[in-house]
Amino acid sequence: MSEAELRTAVAGHRWLQSLRLRPDLVTPGLKPEAQLKAEEAALFDTLNLKGAHLLEIGAGNGAFSFAALRRGAARVLATDHLAWTLPGSDALSATQWAAHALGAGIEMSPLDPRELTPRFGSFHVVMATACFDQLFNPIQALRGMRSVTERVLLIETLQDGLADARPLMMGHGQVLPIGGPEGSWVFGWGPNLPLMTQLLTDLGFSRVLYRHHPTLGAARGLYAAFLPEAPDGLLEGFHTPWINVTSPQAA
């Protein structure tokens, strides 16, 4: 691959994420590099990923999968559903170009998280960004993710109904810049903190940690949910602003 070919490929794709492929070449993505870096730090500075097997749901252009590999993960499987399968989508092709340019040996596969079962295998770390925002059925997707998680599930999601003490989620429709030229209408959800805590608890996670999004505040939330078999040491890197929101029922 020549530099000219790479620059042509970058110009020829629609990018969801701004990835630095060369010191002077950043893909013109919707999500700015600074926000991706802040999210990466918020999610991954907490954990030692050396030797870990990681599954990413909703990888977009793979920014977090590439980051996990840089941080020492032994196996990284990047997946996406809508952005990689809707007719007219070029996000998978863009991600393949990025992996090639970065020399990053990640696996890539289109995947609907609703279809995950234990037969798919298991991963020390499962992560999903823009998690509820773009899922018609986040309950089933969470169940699927739970079924392949060995230790910890990391989630970044839109939030809503934050003033409400009741666990609830609110429906959100949006046009995403995926699929055909006009984009695609996608129906998703914004959960509040009590709902996330309860759902994760009901799905078998025994400890749940939370923090606001590093640049967008409470409009989006980050969750780390641990299975009972996760060693206590795994929680050591979760400092302020992470807080323990584990449901009393889980104890």
Partner: protein, 263 residues
């Protein structure tokens, strides 16, 4: 079809007495099962739920049929085929739902098919029915979105959803989660959607028009709108199945339809 039962009144009463009933059904003149829902309540519910539809010659699928009141009502209203399904109540040791259903069916002499199947496992292989009755089930499901998708797959014309609802003060789509025994001290209650949410979910599943009416026994005038009825109509439904919604019903797609749900 005439009653096949050869039970004496005494024997029938004894069998009725061994079951905990949800529906009051008049099995013989003067012999009514002692349901938690009275005959009068069920009569009003039947009219509210089935009144808009001309069921003559059509097929009906009843999800969560329990003792069978709405399956039998559909048959009496002329449905050519009625398939009653249930699992939770039919296999419940106290409710003895399937036994109760079969006892009532034999007494009433109605041709209604049965299938013991939970809605979480239903799909298009069941076939499509002109009217699907999804009454009092949505909020009992941990994942009602998945099951609503399954209900769409078995609906030929109209899906009728009756459910507990919540978050009525919000005009935006929302559903409230009830962990453990939060709602009515019942750990089988999971979710309370609001009407805007039902509109969005049903539209997203391909229904063209969504009508709403208050439940006849949970009325805003009485300070309670905690249950609602939604009729979701597929594109191309026959007029007999989609054109007779009275004044109690409102088209949720119409401008301003969500405004006056506020308590």
């Amino acid at each position: 079809m005439t009653p096949q039962s050869e039970l004496s009144d005494q024997e029938l009463l004894a069998r009725i007495g061994r079951i905990t009933w949800f529906h009051s059904l008049e099995l013989r003149p003067g012999i009514v099962t002692p349901g938690a829902k009275s005959l009068a309540v069920l009569r009003r519910e039947e009219e509210a739920l089935l009144g808009p539809f001309d069921l003559r010659g059509r097929s009906v699928l009843d999800i969560g049929a329990w003792n069978g009141a709405f399956s039998f009502a559909s048959k009496r209203r002329g449905a050519a085929r009625v398939l009653a399904t249930d699992e939770f109540a039919w296999t419940h040791p106290t409710y003895k739902g399937l036994e109760s259903f079969e006892l009532a069916r034999a007494e009433l002499g109605l041709e209604v098919e049965t299938l013991q199947l939970d809605p979480t496992r239903m799909d298009a292989s069941l076939g499509q029915f002109d009217l699907v009755l999804f009454l009092g089930v949505f909020y009992h499901l941990f994942d009602p979105i998945d099951v609503l998708q399954r209900m769409r797959a078995v609906t030929g014309q109209v899906l009728l959803v009756e459910t507990h609802q919540d978050a009525l003060e919000r005009e935006e789509p929302a559903m409230v989660f009830y962990p453990g025994r939060t709602l009515a001290n019942d750990d089988t209650n999971w979710w309370g959607p609001n009407p805007p949410l039902m509109l969005h979910l049903l539209r997203q599943l391909g229904f063209a028009r969504i009508y709403y009416r208050d439940h006849p026994h949970y009325l805003p005038a009485e300070g309670s709108r905690t249950r609602g009825i939604f009729a979701a109509i597929l594109p191309g439904a026959e007029p007999a199945m989609s054109a007779h919604f009275g004044i109690e019903w409102r088209d949720l797609g119409a401008a301003g339809a969500m405004r006056d749900f506020r308590p």
